[in-house]
Every structure is written in structure tokens, then in C-alpha cells.
């Protein structure tokens, strides 16, 4: 954002004559709109991608007609369709909370983009509590999901909401503990500091170091569960809960839950990229932001791949994995990361 302000000051004539409030506020708004564009664009591509990926994994073709080349415009057509759909709020629903829920879920997921380091200078705001901020702001989504489930006045929706919330909070602890293994060697919670600590060669990336290599898998599994993807998708298990917490939502309100889900998939992949895959670092023939987005998209692809490979876990298995497998492992990893840091530094 500071960079954006510099560019504006240099390129736009008379920018420094504007009132100071505007000088500060305009870059903020611009950066925010850029992120909004990304949040709208990523699902557009990812939904089409997911349909193609799933189709080819099942030896089908997937959407082929809309737009000509491999049905690339399918998601746009779907978006227009959703825009034209009737907005139905069940008679028994709690109207206020029903309308508020998509807003809380979407705004919470979107606000997490503030700290994503797309490039050396392309970050909206490098908050020095970066990692904590992402963990904290994503908890808005949990509240929004319970809100949606409760307001719908539908058994499936409420059950889906409760399950989703229980699952997200359960996997949050091992995830954040595993992230500590990165924070210990870096000595900062800031996302940019974490990326800078991985500069130099590819082997400085945390995924290529012993303790953080294991932590990567814990974080990947944990975040997979936090975005309710297969094999952790019992909150919206179609075969038993219809569509989970957004069963009663239709038209644009449903679209926002969908948008938030895909934005969150990208967000957790970008988080894993920042923490373990060197963020925007990469060979010089491509600029940093391109590397960052490519790595994140690659991780999104793995999420889709898993969806069409693994069967769904049961609720009790899900809780078992989080509390009895991942949590002890992540405790051990934190201590191992501490030992490693002591050995490398030479104890003071």
C-alpha cells in the first residue's frame, strides 16, 4: 500500500496536492479493490478448474459448450444464472440473522487478504501480527457459519453449521501450533519477515528443512479441514446433510457463501505458500507476484485432487485425527523446532 501511494504520487499529476486524508485513503481503497478483483476472479477460474479436474479424473470431459474453448465461460454463465435466481427466505427463518450471515462469512474471509504478501512490495499491509491476524480474522467465518445454520430454521442447515464450527475450531489448534515451528526460527509474526527468512536458494524454503517439512503437512491438513474440503467435508456432506449450513440459501446469497469458500481455499493455500514454499521467491524470469499466485494455485489444485481421491471421514474419526493425532504431533514439532533453533544458533 505504501508502494501504491508512491506510484500514485509519482505518476498522477497533482496527487500530492490532494488533502492528506485522501492521499492516505485512496491507495487503501485501490489496494482493497484490487484484492476484491482477485477474490472475484479466483473462484471464477477455480470453479471451472475444479469441474474440469474432477471430470478428467473421472474420465469425463466436464463443461465443454459455453464460450467455445473447453467451456471456459461456464462459471460466468453460472454467475449470471445465480444473479437471476429468486431470493427465497424461508417463512420460519430469522430474517435479520439470515441476511447478516453471508456478510459475516464473506467479509471475514476477504479481510484476511490484507496480510497476504504477493510480492516484495505488493502487500496491502504488513501487519506485524500477520499470522495471528489471519488466525483471528478467520474466526469470524465460524460465527457466520453458525449464524447461517441457526437462522435458516432447517435441521440440515443447523447440523451442518454446528459440525462445521466444531471442525474448524478443532483443527485451528494443531494448525497454529505447527505454524509456531516457522515463527521460532524467523522470530516474527509478520508475513513479509517470514518470506524474507526464506530468501537465497530454494533450499532455504521451510519445506526443505527437517522440522518445518513435517509441520507443512500438519498445516496443510489443518487448513484443509478449516475450509471444509474433502476428506473433511462432513459439514456439507451431500448424502446426509443436503448442502450443510447453506441449504436454505438461494441466488446471490448462496453465491457469496460459494465465493467465500473458494476465496478461503486460495487464502489457506497462499498462507501455506508464505510459510513454507518461500512466498514470492522464485527464479528471476517471472516476477514475484506471479510465483506467489502460481504456488498458491498449485496447492489449490492439490486440494481438488484430494477431493476426488479420498473418501469422507466420519465425525468421530475427524475429531480423532485432530485431537489425538495432529495435536500431539504439533506439540512435539514445536519442541523439535526449539531444539533445532538452539542447535543452530549456538545457545547464548
Amino acid at each position: 500500500m505504501e508502494y501504491l501511494r508512491e506510484v500514485l504520487t509519482q505518476q498522477v499529476a497533482g496527487y500530492d496536492q490532494l488533502p492528506e486524508v485522501l492521499q492516505i485513503f485512496l491507495p487503501m481503497l485501490l489496494a482493497c479493490l484490487l484484492c476484491l478483483g482477485l477474490v472475484a476472479l479466483v473462484p471464477l477460474v477455480a470453479i471451472w478448474g475444479e469441474r474440469k479436474v474432477s471430470a478428467h479424473m473421472q474420465d469425463r470431459l466436464g463443461p465443454m459448450r459455453v464460450g467455445g474453448w473447453h467451456g471456459w465461460a461456464q462459471t460466468i454463465a453460472d454467475g449470471v444464472k445465480l444473479l437471476l435466481k429468486e431470493d427465497i427466505i424461508p417463512a420460519q427463518a430469522d430474517r435479520l440473522l439470515f441476511k447478516l450471515a453471508p456478510l459475516v462469512v464473506f467479509a471475514g474471509g476477504f479481510a484476511a487478504f490484507v496480510v497476504l504478501p504477493f510480492g516484495e512490495r505488493f502487500i496491502v499491509s504488513d501487519l506485524n501480527i500477520g499470522v495471528l491476524y489471519i488466525a483471528a480474522i478467520s474466526s469470524l467465518g465460524v460465527v457466520g457459519i453458525i449464524m447461517a445454520g441457526w437462522a435458516s430454521n432447517n435441521k440440515y442447515a443447523l447440523f451442518g453449521g454446528m459440525r462445521a464450527a466444531a471442525q474448524i475450531v478443532s483443527y485451528e489448534i494443531p494448525t497454529v501450533l505447527a505454524i509456531l515451528t516457522v515463527v521460532i526460527p524467523v522470530g516474527s509474526l509478520s508475513m513479509q519477515e517470514i518470506v524474507r527468512a526464506q530468501s537465497g536458494s530454494v533450499f532455504n524454503w521451510f519445506i526443505f528443512q527437517p522440522v518445518t517439512f513435517l509441520a507443512f503437512w500438519v498445516v496443510y491438513l489443518g487448513t484443509l479441514a478449516e475450509v471444509n474440503r474433502t476428506p473433511f467435508d462432513i459439514p456439507e456432506a451431500e448424502s446426509e446433510l443436503v448442502a450443510g449450513y447453506h441449504t436454505e440459501y438461494s441466488g446471490m446469497r448462496f453465491a457469496f457463501f460459494f465465493l467465500a469458500e473458494y476465496a478461503n481455499m486460495f487464502l489457506v493455500s497462499a498462507l501455506a505458500t508464505t510459510l513454507f514454499l518461500g512466498g514470492w521467491h522464485g527464479p528471476g524470469f517471472l516476477p514475484g507476484p506471479v510465483w506467489f499466485i502460481l504456488k498458491a494455485v498449485a496447492l489449490v489444485f492439490v486440494q481438488m485432487w484430494l477431493r476426488w481421491t479420498l473418501p469422507r471421514l466420519r465425525v468421530d474419526q475427524l475429531m480423532h485425527v485432530s485431537w489425538k493425532v495432529l495435536l500431539p504431533i504439533s506439540f512435539l514439532l514445536v519442541l523439535a523446532a526449539g531444539t533445532l533453533a538452539l542447535m543452530q544458533e549456538g545457545a547464548p
Binding site: I129, A136, L140, M147, V169
Partner: protein, 166 residues
């Protein structure tokens, strides 16, 4: 009035307003959901005080933890909608006294503390300072905190088990 002032006043209105809704709402679920805005507003106020780590921890623990716990607790309540939330006891004298005492102690704390004011000087990140304090002058409280958490964990587990027994 600067933009900062306007944002501060709006935040204060949202925080206090949603807190009032928590108290006066007749519906339990509305009380709990308006806590979301109270907790979040408090986090914004922490930012105004230059306590960035505390703001993050506030949202992480209160919105992500306490609020979810309260919601789960509400879901366990039978017959949520027709619940009569009024109490039959009415104790104006004791109530006023306790409220006055709480108000007095909070205002005393508020006036006696030397607040860091936004704009006076550039505020510094606090995470590192907190960490250093944990491991130097507040070493014992840091460890006692973990014992406290242990006691809370065992107590919570016991309580819930007793309830399922009955």
C-alpha cells in the same frame, strides 16, 4: 475532528450499542450474536491504544473461542425460542450498589492509567515486548497461567461429565 476521531467514535458507539443489545434483548440468540460486535469493537479499541497483539488475541480468543462456546451452549438449551429470559428476583438496592462499585473501580483504573495516545508518537509493535516480559519479569505468572489453564481444563472436563451423568 479528524478521521481517526470519527472512526473511534463509531467504534465506541458500535461496541457500547451492541453491549446494550446483549443486556436488553429478549432473545438469547440475539444477545450472543451481538456479542460478536462487542468483542470486535473492543479489539479495534485495543488497536487505538497501540496494543496490536492484544487486539489479535482478543479476536482469536473471544470471537473464535468464547463466542463459539456460548453459541454451542445456547444450542444445548431446550426450547430456545419461547424461553422467558426475565428473572423473578428484583433487587434494586444490591444491584445499584454492585453496579456503582464496578463503575467506580473501572473509572478509577481508566483515569489512573497512563495511556499511550495515538498520534503522540509512532507506536511500536508489542508482540516482542510481551514475549520478553513473559520470560523475564513475568516468568512466574507465565508458568502459573499454564497451571491455571490445566486446572480449568480438568474442571471443565469434570463439570461436563457430571452433567451427562444425571
Amino acid at each position: 475532528m479528524s478521521v481517526t476521531d470519527i472512526v473511534f467514535i463509531l467504534t465506541a458507539i458500535v461496541t457500547v450499542g451492541s453491549a446494550v443489545v446483549v443486556v436488553v434483548s429478549r432473545s438469547l440468540i440475539y444477545s450472543v450474536f451481538s456479542l460478536l460486535f462487542t468483542f470486535f469493537g473492543v479489539a479495534v479499541l485495543y488497536v487505538f491504544l497501540g496494543a496490536d497483539f492484544l487486539a489479535g488475541a482478543q479476536v482469536l480468543i473471544y470471537v473464535g473461542g468464547i463466542l463459539v462456546l456460548l453459541l454451542f451452549g445456547v444450542m444445548l438449551t431446550h426450547r430456545l425460542y419461547n424461553l422467558n429470559l426475565t428473572t423473578e428476583r428484583f433487587q434494586p438496592i444490591a444491584g445499584t450498589l454492585i453496579a456503582a462499585a464496578v463503575f467506580a473501580s473501572i473509572s478509577l483504573a481508566a483515569f489512573k492509567t497512563k495511556w499511550k495516545l495515538v498520534g503522540e508518537k509512532e507506536l511500536e509493535p508489542t508482540t516482542q515486548q510481551i514475549g520478553e516480559a513473559f520470560l523475564s519479569s513475568y516468568l512466574l505468572p507465565f508458568e502459573i497461567a499454564s497451571v491455571l489453564l490445566l486446572v480449568a481444563l480438568i474442571g471443565a472436563a469434570m463439570l461436563v461429565r457430571r452433567r451427562t451423568d444425571v
